[in-house]
């Protein structure tokens, strides 16, 4: 049972890291602000989501589980809000500048 949990954690956290690496590569390599933001928010949402999913079975209590999910939810909300704001700012800068 612990082996299964270990395998599950390693697989999901590794998958999460793949998204973070891909998001970082996109942030550096993509040509314009919108695609860079797209890469970045994908890393936040899916990468962190998978890491949190992998850590859930290791939480010590129900409170720990709820905290992990809350952290993911708060990061989702903040990056979902920051992404469009940055995109709007970049578009205004491109138009006005």
């Amino acid at each position: 049972m612990t082996l299964l949990v270990d395998v599950f954690t390693v697989l999901t956290v590794a998958a999460g890291i793949v998204f973070f690496v891909a998001g970082t590569a996109g942030l550096i390599r993509f040509p314009d602000t919108s695609s860079r933001l797209h890469a970045l928010t994908k890393a936040d949402h899916l990468g962190l989501g998978l890491v949190v999913l992998g850590l859930l079975p290791r939480a010590e209590s129900l409170g720990g589980v709820l905290r992990l999910v809350a952290i993911w939810g708060l990061v989702l909300a903040s990056s979902a809000a920051a992404g469009p704001m940055l995109a709007r700012l970049a578009r205004r800068g491109a138009r006005g500048g």
Partner: protein, 310 residues
Amino acid sequence: MIADLLIVAAIVALALPVVLARSAFTAVALFVAYGLLLAFAWVRLDAVDVALTEAAIGAGLSGVLLLGAARRLAGGPPVEDAPPGKAQVALIGVGCAGLAVALGAVILALPDPAPSLAEPVMANIAAIEVGNPVTAVLMGFRGLDTLLEAAVLVLAVVALWALAPDAAWGAAPGWRQPPATDGPLALLARVLPPIGVVVAVHILWVGADAPGGKFQAAAILAAMWLLPWMAGIAAPPPISRAWLRIVIAAGPVAFILAGFAGSVLQGAFLAYPPGYAKAVIIAVEVVLTASIAVALALLVLGPPAEDRGA
């Protein structure tokens, strides 16, 4: 070990461009990332209290203050600096190298094992009645330091308000923000504050026995106050309001009163009566949190300005 080396390498790799960056905005953005990495290093050192403070105050709040400063500087006339001469460059280089060598020598000369007060703290922690040794040190053994830190914030707000032009004195601080009626900011400003306030109260409350405390809680509270202001759905109160000034001063005043109560009852400033130490500490911390939160938010808002257009 490899993970720690990677973190150290990343911190150094970020610290260099912070110093070398040409534009103030770039430097501040990198400084915030640097602060978050530093917080990560503190977690690796098992100093979770320091990590929380670094992330909330060092990276978050200082970052916002520096961004505001960079924006104000960008509006002014460009600073014309004469490039330094060769002798000056050589002098700066020698000075920096000397300082680096001296610091390195001092660090290498530290005794091993390092002198530590951790054992006496753990031996006497029962007298302070809180489970978190960091809180015991901050509010008990070194309570005077914390008292002075809190008083410094009051002075910082006074100094900031002193920058207000005469015509704007007593008005609301900060620029008026255009109201965001829809979009992500408006949603965030309505949804996040209730959650943030609960998190802040939680961090303050668990600070007695687990990592957390008033500065971290106050930074979150200040952010939750600033968010509706940024979205334009709440205006900051005018600085002439009596309640605002009372809240700013209440924390340090409560702390000083608790200190003098110790002088009278226990014979030493900031000595807590046995059996009531935890109650006194938590009461002082709650009032201090309110004061620090309001002071931090006011520091971000800036002085009242004459031109209140966006």
